[in-house]
Symmetry: C2
Subunit: 324 residues, 2 copies
């Protein structure tokens, strides 16, 4: 018998969100916390607390399993965290740590893959077979779907959309590379650009959003200033849109996708950034540019939780199917 | 009954090669000509002549079909040439023109896809399931195989490996974009770099290879000078290897392939260029760098012909299979 609910966990560089999800992709209960800075065990503790909060009213037998999205490269078959830029989870057996404290099966996946999973099953990409998702957040991640299924590559490490090179002599990326999409569009990179401008009179409106203190200025302050009409803030985000477009042009040429879904906190707050990227693709892409729609994500912050739950449902169903 | 032979046609920016191929991937007869400069009909005439040359000793019934590789983006399902950088074939119904003059089924595909097809069936990638091929020639092309099958994308336009952006403010690409891999590694780009150096004393050895005339200096002259030990020529190709590596790092991060096969005339002549690219991947890639082998193509100039023949065999066999 297929259980009616799954739990989706979305661990981000900034916050952890957990939801109890039904088979129609509705989040029935949810809970959030800031991602603890104290190390891997503190992160696992926070995950366990939030799982407890959302599942306390439901019988264990009604839960298919728990999907956990991490901002990490994961060897999917071995469920091993290989590489994690923004959190101290590389080499940590997150799955075993969580499973030792819950009664359910746990499956890990990359957070970008799971956001794409959510959009594929319940969101903007419901009707398409080949698409890319790019999530603009603290890191820049994403996922790639072929024939409705996630493309993971040889060892499940794909698809790191944010770590394509767009400017080989460009600024350093938190991953250690240079000139990646994330080097320009991650929150820290945008915030640095805002702080630079805040030293000049042109950055006044951005600085005001940060309460006058350039040291606490965030990417969101730039977004807010831009949405309030500030020219310099808009310029930063338009430049970011051009860079995003240049990165996506290469992917359109390589992959000929039907759709590119742009999500993540920054992507969703900035429709004009997405539009600018779409203009660049239309101007600079090869023939595949005519096939691709560039659209905002539909699930907002819930994409990761919903994708994690969808993965848990499908893993559980396929195992039941196999055992029959 | 499965016919024993197929004809592979490889149309390049510089020359056309045609081969009569058996089911073991042996080229039994071959013929080559320079690619005519006179327009699409002259190109089709040359293809027909070469097909006649290689097939004159074989009964029509013994030929499964003809595969034709073009240096073009092709809508594979519609067999339509969408975009062609180096030859005047965009919008030309090459398949109908060839089929009107031969007794066999004809199938078109992108030349990079077919080189990858050849390496997958008979060459360096025989034993792997997920790989990328990049061909360094007049243009830079390639192909991408997932689970032993070519990835073509939504409308069959993929995988244009050479038109990934590596330097968004970089030099123009023949396709109209900027800073693509082809902007740096296509024969014209390399030759331009050689001509620039030939203006100075450092380019003396390269200029000598070109017979002292910078106007006729080619990419091959740089390769020859480098192989003869010239420092400046080696430097140009080492720089090219770094750029290739930076482009491939993004693809390793995105796709987590098992293997990258480097082919094309320039790729095959320059093992140290391939080694340099592999070093960059090892230094700058995310976790997937440990999975990927970067290897030279094994089929040399024959990859395109063999891949085209393999495609013709498989298309013909699958249709016979369907009709039974």
């Amino acid at each position: 018998m297929h259980a009616n609910y799954a739990i989706g966990v979305d661990v981000g560089g900034t916050r952890i969100a957990v939801g109890l999800v039904d088979r129609k992709g509705r989040i029935l209960r949810d809970a959030k916390a800031l991602t603890p800075r104290g190390g891997p065990f503190a992160i696992v503790d926070a995950i366990i607390d939030l799982i407890g909060e959302v599942s306390c009213t439901v019988q264990a037998g009604e839960i298919s399993g728990i999907g956990v999205g991490l901002p990490a490269q994961i060897d999917f078959a071995r469920q091993h965290v290989e590489f994690c830029t923004n959190l101290p989870l590389a080499g940590v057996d997150v799955r075993a740590l969580v499973m030792s404290r819950v009664k359910h099966q746990v499956i890990l996946d990359n957070d970008g893959n799971l956001a794409a999973f959510g959009e594929s099953r319940y969101g903007a990409a419901r009707t398409v077979r080949h698409f890319l998702m790019i999530t603009l957040g603290t890191g820049v991640g994403g996922g790639m779907f072929i024939g409705k299924e996630p493309y993971r590559g040889f060892r499940g490490l794909g698809a790191e959309v944010g770590h394509m090179v767009v400017q080989m002599d460009g600024p350093p990326c938190p991953c250690g590379g240079n000139g990646h999409i994330e080097s320009y569009l991650g929150r820290p990179a945008l915030a640095a650009r805002g702080r630079e401008l805040a030293k000049t009179y042109r950055g006044a409106a951005i600085l005001e959003q940060a309460g006058g203190d350039p040291d606490v200025l965030t990417a969101e302050d730039i977004v807010k200033a831009a949405l309030a009409g500030d020219e310099a803030a808009t310029e930063i985000l338009m430049e970011a849109g051009v860079i995003l477009g240049r990165g996506l042009v290469g992917l359109v040429n390589l992959l000929n996708p039907q759709m590119i879904v742009v999500g993540g906190g920054i992507g969703e707050a900035c429709p004009f950034l997405i539009d600018r990227a779409a203009e660049i693709i239309a101007a600079e892409g090869l023939a595949g540019k005519r096939d691709v729609k560039v659209v905002p994500a539909e699930l907002g912050n819930d994409a990761g939780v919903l994708g994690a739950a969808a993965l848990a449902f499908e893993e559980s169903d396929s195992k039941e199917g196999l055992s029959r």
